[in-house]
Subunit: 412 residues, 2 copies
């Protein structure tokens, strides 16, 4: 492993994060793959609590994804702990991999005093290497739990990440403040329908499991499913969220459209979008954070699809890296998306400048202005398709020599 | 423009190519964008002859594509000349672009003594820059035609290509030898459903226009539509083919399934696949020529789709560049394709070595053997999905620092 330089797009520091009542964290260094750094996380509730999950749509999912799906029917249920290791994804490891996952869950359950099915698992790292569960089981015997070591927790789940990712919010439910906290990892193999990423969220709100699932699904669809680094989807993508209800003075909320959830839903969206943006800012080799807004589409799905056609285009991503306002490549990407657009009504903006309209370059287009915008670290592209009223925004980063070096020069 | 080094995967030399009876070629240097090199080609028949075309599926097609589609109804008809310029794609240039295309066609028609609609056009280069038709019209006044200057012709249509691309074959129809010849260009913006490429083919076979169209469509589907460099689709992709019938001792063949066409169809497929492979071998920054075979699929479409999921994956393409037999990324790509596969029946080969079967690494897998294969310039990947009998092969190249340099560092 090569030590990677902190992304130039990284936030200045890890945010101040609050403890979440009812949740404890512990990390350990198992030595499984990485030396001298924590690579193992346990997020524990005091008892089995409402838990929801959203998983990769990959048809070759990892053993931990299989495990979680088997124990969270329809993506929700009760769980007491989430156990995560970094360095080995336990994916494409056959029956041995399933056995290794089960062994870890059983050992954690024995340690925490719950059923194995109440222990959820996530693994990230190399695909196809058998996972040796023994160092993980050994680590379980010697954990020391604390309430809010979020930065250590975020560090422990990292692989090629160059900075730990966390976010925190406070929402009101029935006049009571509840905490939301989350950590995430991911920097490559990032694409829609679960970027290659892990995310672990918790709150002390009191929510019935299906309500938690609905809120999490909504937030994921507007955040982690709107980012792309390299268009590749992981076998291991997992977002899990626990809701402890600790200290809640109201009964668990049982309807997802309960008006009391309005602030919570909004805060959860903001929190997951914050984490998703941090993943893009840690995109392998990224030097630009790129917002692609597509308006004037027939449907939100069409707008999203065009957004990703732009955000995933190697030619656009390399032009961004080169600070070249080569908007012709945006025309190309719109055309290849296959979504309905009116070539002769298409409008394209780079930053605040209208570059093209009516099927051609705007007469007042000034390339120097566009080039100046491209020199910044925060690039905004906007396309109006001219055929409807729907819009969507997706986020990506540029494609640089750094991406090639990270992915061609050693195995992550 | 930066002068690019000849691709390390390039063939040793331009092939020996035969003249095609009834076809003349002329090239010129217009100075439109490139200095001191030919950038303009006219391929002329003695009279209007059977002509067929296959075009980009981009919804933002260039003005020349619009022009050709308007004059080749259902992709076939009669034409007397093909006029091509390199350096400016005349795409997303609005009404002015359409006017420029028409002006060039009219000038060529006047020069050649045919109707403007019998002049077909193709342009390649920058998108979104207005095309100044005057240098092209000037060049038309001073052309010198020869029968078989194929290498000059292939050079004149190049943009970021590092070598001219041509192929030639002889087929038998009714015991008579007919010549097939073709040139192509393309090195980036290459993806299925017409790679970013131009291809111009001709033959002296006597074929009715719809038959020529059917033969061309078949050949394109098995060649140019099976390659990818960077997953990006051009606004300008065009393949045109003329059949002069010059010297044919039989009446034009009017049925695509006429058994007399068997040899011709096979030779045309070989010729177009040869050109398609040359385009991959000139992939921007390519250092590996990669054959991806997918078997055991339910349908050929599914096999092709999985093949492209592998061939377009940035993580796989960078692993290829790094000569890293990171087969876990192949598992990832199969999983993300969304096509049916049986994870626990999946088989993966690198070169001749079985790497994985039954959902896990093969016990006898030897990484050194796989790594040795990856060091070659010609890489073979094979995946069996384990769910059916259909198969398909696609071709691509690796993703290297060279691709980033070419696309980030200047505008092509």
């Amino acid at each position: 492993m090569v030590a990677l330089k902190r992304s130039p797009l990284a936030p200045k520091r890890f945010p101040n994060m609050l403890p979440v009542p009812g949740i404890d964290l512990a990390t350990a260094a198992t030595g499984l793959r990485y030396k001298g750094r924590p690579d193992f996380l346990v997020m524990r509730a005091k008892k089995a609590v409402a838990t929801a999950g959203v998983f990769t749509r990959s048809l070759t999912p990892s053993a931990p994804v299989d495990w979680c799906k088997a124990h969270l029917h329809d993506g929700y249920g009760l769980a007491q702990a989430i156990v995560v290791n970094a360095g080995n994804a336990n994916a494409f490891t056959g029956k041995m991999g399933a056995n290794a996952a089960e062994s870890v869950a059983e050992a954690a359950a024995a340690r925490l005093g719950c059923a194995p099915g109440q222990v959820l698992l996530a693994s990230t790292g190399v695909i196809g290497e058998p996972l040796d569960s023994r160092p993980l089981i050994t680590a379980l015997d010697d954990l020391s739990f604390h309430g809010s070591h979020w930065e250590s927790a975020a560090t422990a789940i990292s692989t090629t990440d160059t900075f730990p990712k966390g976010a925190c919010a406070v929402a009101q439910i029935e006049g009571q403040k509840v905490v939301l906290a989350g950590i995430a990892k991911g920097s490559g193999m990032i694409q829609p329908d679960m970027a290659t990423m892990l995310g672990f969220l918790c709150t002390n709100a009191a929510l019935a499991p299906p309500v938690l699932k609905a809120l999490l699904r909504d937030a994921v669809d507007h955040s982690f499913n709107r980012i792309t680094v390299d268009s590749d989807t992981s076998t291991s993508d997992t977002v899990l969220m626990m809701a402890t209800g600790e200290g809640a003075h109201y009964a668990p909320i049982t309807e997802a459209d309960d008006p009391r959830l309005e602030d919570f839903r909004a805060k959860l969206r903001i929190l997951t979008l914050d984490l998703a943006h941090q993943i893009v800012r840690d995109g392998e080799g990224a030097s630009k954070f790129v917002t692609v807004r597509v308006s004037g589409a027939e449907t939100v799905d069409a707008a999203t699809h065009v957004g990703f056609a732009i955000a995933n285009s190697p030619l656009i991503k390399t032009a961004l890296a080169g600070e070249d306002p080569n908007w012709g490549r945006i025309v190309m990407a719109v055309g290849k998306s296959g979504e309905r657009a009116d070539r002769d009504q298409l409008e394209i903006w780079i930053g605040d400048q209208l570059v093209a309209e009516n099927g051609m370059r705007h007469p007042a287009y000034d390339e120097a202005t566009a080039a100046a915008h491209m020199k910044g670290a925060d690039i905004r592209l906007h396309v109006d398709l001219g055929v409807g009223k729907a819009e969507a925004t997706v986020w990506t980063c540029d494609l640089t020599h750094g991406y090639i070096s990270i992915n061609a020069d050693y195995r992550s």
